[in-house]
């Protein structure tokens, strides 16, 4: 995870570089934690909030952690705050259908889409603390050390949360895991 030396809010090209580098991961973290479907405007809106906070927070960033850790922590907090706020309100439906797999046949694309939807629903059923670890580790591929830094927990805690989450997901996704594909 990167650690640029001096970052200033008025350094527009540095900010642009940060957004370009982190936007996909931030979007996936927000979408994963919020259980958003493809095209769901909520995830992009959350990502927008993250980068607005990054933009306004850059002058105060002291570099105690890497920029990535700082941004992913903001993303996790923003997404989980929105999940809590949304509990009292019904969630908006997906605006756009999942796109087809570019190189797969219609049957394969349908099966892949079904699997993605099943994983999304299963991850949504996890407690927030486990979901955060699954999204950061499983979707984003962060190391346990990085996951622990982002969530402000110890590495063994991150590992045990992942292990409990996987146990639960194996139960929920059993049928898809038996698939020889």
């Amino acid at each position: 995870m990167g650690r640029p030396g001096s970052l200033r809010a008025d350094d527009h090209s540095a900010f642009e570089q940060i957004v370009e580098q982190h936007a996909p991961a931030v979007y996936r973290i927000c979408a994963g934690l919020m259980g958003a479907r493809h095209g769901d405007a909520d995830a992009e809106d959350a990502a927008q909030e993250v980068f607005t906070r990054v933009f306004t927070g850059l002058p105060g960033f002291k570099g105690e952690s890497s920029v990535s850790t700082w941004i992913f922590r903001i993303a996790t907090n923003v997404a989980l705050t929105r999940v809590k706020r949304r509990r009292s309100r019904p969630r908006a439906q997906a605006l756009v259908d999942e796109p087809n797999e570019p190189r797969a046949g219609p049957q394969d694309a349908l099966a892949a889409q079904e699997r993605r939807e099943a994983v999304r629903r299963a991850v949504e059923q996890l407690p927030e603390e486990q979901r955060a670890v699954v999204v950061l580790r499983g979707f984003e591929g962060l190391s346990f050390e990085e996951v622990a830094q982002v969530l402000g927990i110890l590495r063994p805690t991150a590992e045990s949360r992942m292990s409990r989450a996987k146990e639960r997901l194996r139960g929920l996704l059993g049928d898809f895991m038996k698939d020889p594909d």
């Binding site: 979007y27 607005t52 796109p99 993605r116 979707f139 898809f176």
Partner: protein, 96 residues
């Protein structure tokens, strides 16, 4: 398929042109205003919760102080019971 492959496949797809929209949006005064008011609202809600908790504790303390000030003296009641029991016991022991 193992879980890690399922996770990889299920990664949310990033919409096209996202970074450009985010860069423009982050600098807009409107987005910064929205975040400012969201923070104000959150801080206000937290302050309200703290004030409510403080009010509950204050009322609880006041009630317990009033109850302890107006309630009969338990020590005295206990000694009266003790004297009565002792007298009854002596009477019982003295009786043939």
């Amino acid at each position: 398929m193992d879980l890690d492959s399922l996770f990889h496949e299920a990664r949310p797809e990033v919409p096209e042109g996202l970074a450009a929209r985010l860069i423009a949006g982050a600098r807009s005064a409107e987005a910064q205003r929205r975040i400012f008011w969201a923070d104000v609202e959150r801080t206000g809600r937290r302050a309200l919760a703290v004030a409510a908790a403080a009010a509950v504790i204050t009322v609880g303390l006041a009630v317990s102080m009033v109850v302890s000030a107006t309630a009969p003296d338990n020590t005295r009641t206990a000694s009266l019971v003790e004297i009565t029991v002792q007298a009854q016991l002596e009477k019982y022991l003295e009786s043939p």
